[in-house]
Amino acid sequence: MYRVRLRLAKTEFAKFVSHLETMQALARGARRARLPLVLTQGFNPHAKISWGPPLSVGQTSDSEYLDLFLEKFIRPEEVKARLNEALPEHLRIVGAKYVYKDAPSLGGIIAVASYEVAVEVVPVPGNDQLTAARARFFEKGSFEVKRKKGMRTKQADKAVRRMEMNVRDGVVELDLSLALGADGLKPSEVCELLFGANGQSHTVLAAKRTGLFAENRGDLVTPFDLAD
C-alpha cells in the first residue's frame, strides 16, 4: 500500500460544491483516471481516501489536502497529471508527494488555516480605523460565538494567530491565520466580531483559504513538509 498526499485547489464555480460532494468528485475522478485505488473492507467497498478539514461552501482554496491510498507506486507527477485530466475544471491538483503509509491522519495533524478575505464594510473604514479595530479585538480577549450545539467561548489569542488588514479600492482585505477545532474561529465570525459588533454593516465578498498547517515544534509547517 502506498499513500500519496495531494494538494487541491478549488476555484470559482467549485466554491458552491460542498465538502461531501468534493470528496465524491475526487473519488470519481480517481476512478476515471484509472488509478489503482485501495478499496476499503466490508460490505460496501469504496476507494480509501482520507481528507483534511472541510472547506465551507462559498470559499475557494489554494490549499486543501487529501491522501489517496494506492496499490501500486505511481510517480507523483503522473498521479497529478492523470487526475487533472480526469477532474472537472475548477478542481485542480497542485501538488503531490508520497508520505509514510502509517503517518497520522490529515484531520489529526492540521491545526491552523490561513485565509484571504475581502469584505465590503459600510461606511468604508480608513487604515487607522482598522488598526484600532484590531487592537480592540485583542484587548477584548474573549468572545461568545454561536455554534450548532450552543454558545461557545473563544480566546482571541488562541483562535487568531495572525491578523493583517488594509483597505484597497474601498474593500477591506484581511489576511488571517486561524486555529481549527475547538479553539478556533471561522473567518465569517472574525468579520462579525470586528465589524458587526461595532454596528458597521459588512458583507463578505470573497473568502479564500490560502494554506493549511500542522504544528511542528512550535513552527507552522505544511502537510507536505511533514512528509520528510
Partner: protein, 627 residues
C-alpha cells in the same frame, strides 16, 4: 430569438446564491457538460426540466437529447431547471430572469425552449419557468423575439391541457426528431428571405411527429364531450403519428454523460437495455406509447456500459428499461457484465423485477439489491383482479418467489399495489390484507432467527389513475370519499407492526386524474392554479389542494366530468388525434377483456395480439434472439 446580445445573469446570480439552499443546483462546469460559445452558436436550444436539478438530472431522456444536440454543428443545447422556492423569491425580488445552467443566459434568449412532460404534477412549474424566463405564458401572446416553446415526453401523448402554452409538441421518441427540428431552425436562420416566427413554425410543423395545437380546432357537444378535433390547415394531418427509433443499436446514446457534483436522485451510470414493453398491463400507458418492444444487443450494451463507467467513474451501473428482466438475453448480459464490474468494484442495479421472470440466479448478480432489497409490483391483491389488469400471476407463484427471496438471504422486500382499480370489489381488498398476512407468516417461517430482526416487508399502495391511450381510458374512477374509505380500510386491517404500509396523497392523485384525461379547457385551470401560487405539485409538502379546487371552479371545470365519468365507446376522446400506432379498437377490446378477467399474452411469446403498432409504425419487434 432576439438578435441583440443578451448577457449572462451570472454576476447578479452569484450575489444571491450564498443565501439559498444547495447553490450547486444553479451552477455548472460538471464533468461531461458542454460549455460551447453561446454567441457563436447558430441554433440555441434550452432543454428545460420542470423540477429541480436533482430530479431533472436523473432523467435519461435529458442526457440523450443534450448529447444529440450538442454534437450537431453550430448547435448549442443548455439545461434549465425549476428554481427552488428560495431562489425564485430572490429572482423575482432582484428582477433576475430564469437562466440556463451552462452560460446563465435567460430562457428568452434561446431559439427553442423544450420542456420534458413527465407528469401532470409539473405543469404549474412549466408555467412558472416560462414566466420567470420572460417568455409570455400563452403562446398566442408570443411575438417575433420569443422562442418557440416545445413539449415532449410521455405527457405529450395527451398534450391538450397544455395546448394554450405550447407552440408545438413532439410526439414520441426525440433523439432523431430533435435533429430534424434543429436543422429546420438552422435552415431558417441561414436563409435571408425566410419570414418570421410563423414561417419557422410552419417549417417545423412539417416534420413527422410534430403536433401544432393551433392548427387544430376543438368543438364540444352540449354534454361537454369533445365533438371533433379538426385540422384547420391543409398540411395538418388528422392524426399526428408518434416518432419511433427503429434501430436502438444504431441510435445515439450518451457514453460521456454529465456527472453531477450533487447527490441527485439516481447518481449512477445508466444503459438503456430496451424500449417498449408488450406485457399489456391494462392500466399502463408506457406499455402502449412505447410500442413496439426493441432491444439493444448484448454486445452493444456491454460496450456502452464500459464506455459510460470509464468516462464517469461511477460506482454503480443501472440497466434501465420498462421491464429489464424481460430482455431476451438478460441472464447472459448480467453474467458478462458482472464479470467486468466485479473487477472494477462497480455494483449493478435493476429498477425492479417481474415476478414471472424472476430467478434467484438473476437477482444474485445484482449487488444493489443486497442493500436495498427486492421490489415487485403485483399491483392487485387477488389473482382475479390481477387477471382484470392482465398481470397473470397466481398466488402460488407469488408466494414461491417471496419464499425464494427470503431463503436466499434477503430480508427486505417491497411490493407495489393499487386500489380503486376497475372491477375491484371489497373482496379484492380483503385479499390484499390476507396477502400481507400470508407474506409475513411465510417470511417468519423462512428467515432464520438471527435475521428476523432485520426483516422489512413494505406494501406501497397507491390510488389508480386512468391514463389516456390505455384500455382503462374509458373508465369512471371512484370518488375521493370512496378511495379514502378503501385506503383507510387497508391501513386499518393490515397489521402495520408486521408489514409497513406506504400510501399516497389522494388529493394529488385526484388532480393528476383530472389532468391526465383532460382537454383544452383545462388550460385555464392550470393557469389559474399557477397564478394562485401552485408550485411543485408533485411534492407532497408543497401540493395545495385548495388552490386546485378553487382554480378548477373559477375555470368552470367540473373535476367529476373528467374523473368519475365513464366514457362511451363512440365518444371522441381529446387525444384521439395523437397516434401511438396502437388502434382504438385494440384498446376497447382489452377494455372488454378486463371485464371478463381474460388474459392477453405478451406478443413476444409468438402470437400477435394485433394491436397495430408494428404495421402502422413500420417496425417489427426486435429482440436479440431474432437478430
Amino acid at each position: 430569438m432576439a438578435e441583440t446580445k443578451i448577457d449572462s445573469v451570472w454576476p447578479r446570480l452569484e450575489r444571491v446564491l450564498p443565501e439559498v439552499e444547495r447553490p450547486g443546483r444553479y451552477t455548472n462546469k460538471e464533468w461531461g457538460a458542454y460549455h460551447n460559445d453561446f454567441d457563436k452558436a447558430l441554433v440555441r436550444v434550452a432543454l428545460a426540466y420542470p423540477d429541480i436539478y436533482e430530479v431533472g438530472m436523473s432523467h435519461l431522456g435529458l442526457q440523450i437529447l443534450y448529447e444529440v444536440l450538442n454534437r450537431l454543428p453550430s448547435t448549442l443545447a443548455e439545461r434549465a431547471f425549476a428554481p427552488w422556492l428560495d431562489l425564485e423569491e430572490r429572482l423575482r425580488a432582484s428582477d433576475i430572469p430564469l437562466f440556463s445552467l451552462e452560460s446563465h443566459r435567460p430562457l428568452r434568449a434561446f431559439d427553442l425552449v423544450g420542456f420534458s412532460l413527465q407528469t401532470e404534477m409539473t405543469y404549474t412549474n412549466i408555467l412558472n419557468m416560462l414566466d420567470l424566463g420572460r417568455i409570455p405564458i400563452r403562446s398566442e401572446q408570443r411575438n417575433e423575439d420569443d422562442p418557440l416553446v416545445i413539449g415532449g415526453g410521455p405527457g405529450a401523448f395527451n398534450p391538450e391541457p397544455l395546448a394554450d402554452f405550447f407552440d408545438l409538441f413532439l410526439i414520441g421518441e426525440g433523439e432523431e426528431a430533435v435533429v430534424d427540428i434543429a436543422m429546420a431552425v438552422a435552415d431558417h436562420k441561414r436563409s435571408s428571405d425566410s419570414g418570421g416566427r410563423e414561417a419557422l413554425l410552419a417549417r417545423i410543423a412539417g416534420i413527422a411527429g410534430v403536433y401544432v395545437p393551433s392548427q387544430y380546432a376543438v368543438d364540444y357537444e352540449d354534454s361537454g364531450q369533445v365533438a371533433n378535433v379538426t385540422p384547420v390547415s391543409a398540411e395538418a394531418p388528422p392524426v399526428v403519428q408518434k416518432r419511433v427509433v427503429s434501430d436502438l443499436n444504431a441510435a445515439p446514446y450518451p457514453t460521456r454523460p454529465i456527472v453531477p457534483f450533487m447527490n441527485i436522485v439516481h447518481g449512477r451510470a445508466t444503459v438503456e437495455v430496451m424500449r417498449g414493453c408488450t406485457r399489456g398491463c391494462r392500466f399502463c400507458q408506457a406499455g402502449i406509447v412505447y410500442r413496439p418492444t426493441r432491444e439493444r444487443s448484448t454486445k452493444k450494451l456491454l460496450g456502452q456500459a464500459d464506455a459510460v463507467l470509464s468516462s464517469t467513474g461511477h460506482e454503480e451501473i443501472s440497466l434501465a428499461s420498462l421491464s429489464t428482466s424481460d430482455h431476451s438475453e438478460i441472464a447472459r448480459l448480467l453474467r458478462r457484465l458482472s464479470a467486468s464490474t466485479n473487477q472494477r468494484g462497480v455494483a449493478i442495479s435493476l429498477p425492479s423485477l417481474r415476478i414471472d421472470s424472476f430467478s434467484i440466479g438473476l437477482a444474485e448478480q445484482v449487488a444493489g439489491f443486497k442493500r436495498t432489497g427486492l421490489t415487485f409490483a403485483p399491483e392487485a391483491g387477488t389473482a382475479r383482479l390481477r387477471r382484470v389488469i392482465n398481470k397473470e400471476i397466481s398466488e402460488e407463484s407469488l408466494m414461491e418467489v417471496v419464499k425464494a427471496v427470503f431463503e436466499t438471504g434477503w430480508d427486505k422486500i417491497k411490493l407495489y399495489f393499487m386500489f380503486g382499480l376497475p372491477h375491484e370489489e371489497w373482496s379484492d381488498l380483503e385479499g390484499l390484507v390476507e396477502l400481507s398476512r400470508k407474506i409475513h407468516d411465510l417470511a417468519v417461517a423462512t428467515v432464520p432467527p438471527r435475521r428476523k430482526g432485520r426483516l422489512r416487508i413494505t406494501f406501497n399502495v397507491s390510488p389508480f389513475v386512468a391514463k389516456a391511450h390505455t384500455p382503462f381510458q374509458w373508465e369512471g374512477q371512484e370518488s375521493l370519499n370512496e378511495l379514502a374509505r378503501k385506503r383507510d380500510f387497508l391501513k386499518e386491517k393490515i397489521n402495520r407492526k408486521r408489514v409497513a404500509v406506504k400510501t399516497h396523497d389522494l388529493e394529488q392523485a385526484h388532480v393528476e386524474a383530472v389532468l391526465a384525461r383532460g382537454d383544452r379547457r383545462l388550460s385555464a385551470a392550470i393557469f389559474r392554479a399557477w397564478q394562485l401560487g401552485a408550485r411543485f405539485d408533485a411534492w407532497k409538502e408543497y401540493f395545495d389542494y385548495s388552490i386546485w379546487t378553487r382554480a378548477l371552479a373559477e375555470a368552470d371545470v367540473s373535476p367529476d366530468f373528467y374523473v368519475s365519468r365513464a366514457r362511451a365507446r363512440s365518444e371522441v376522446l381529446p387525444w384521439d388525434h395523437i397516434g401511438t400506432g396502437v388502434s382504438k379498437e385494440f384498446l376497447w377490446e382489452e377494455h372488454e377483456r378486463a371485464a371478463d378477467e381474460a388474459i392477453t399474452p405478451d406478443c413476444r411469446g409468438g402470437e400477435c395480439t394485433e394491436c397495430g403498432a408494428c404495421p402502422v409504425l413500420g417496425i417489427p419487434l426486435i429482440s436479440c434472439i431474432s437478430q
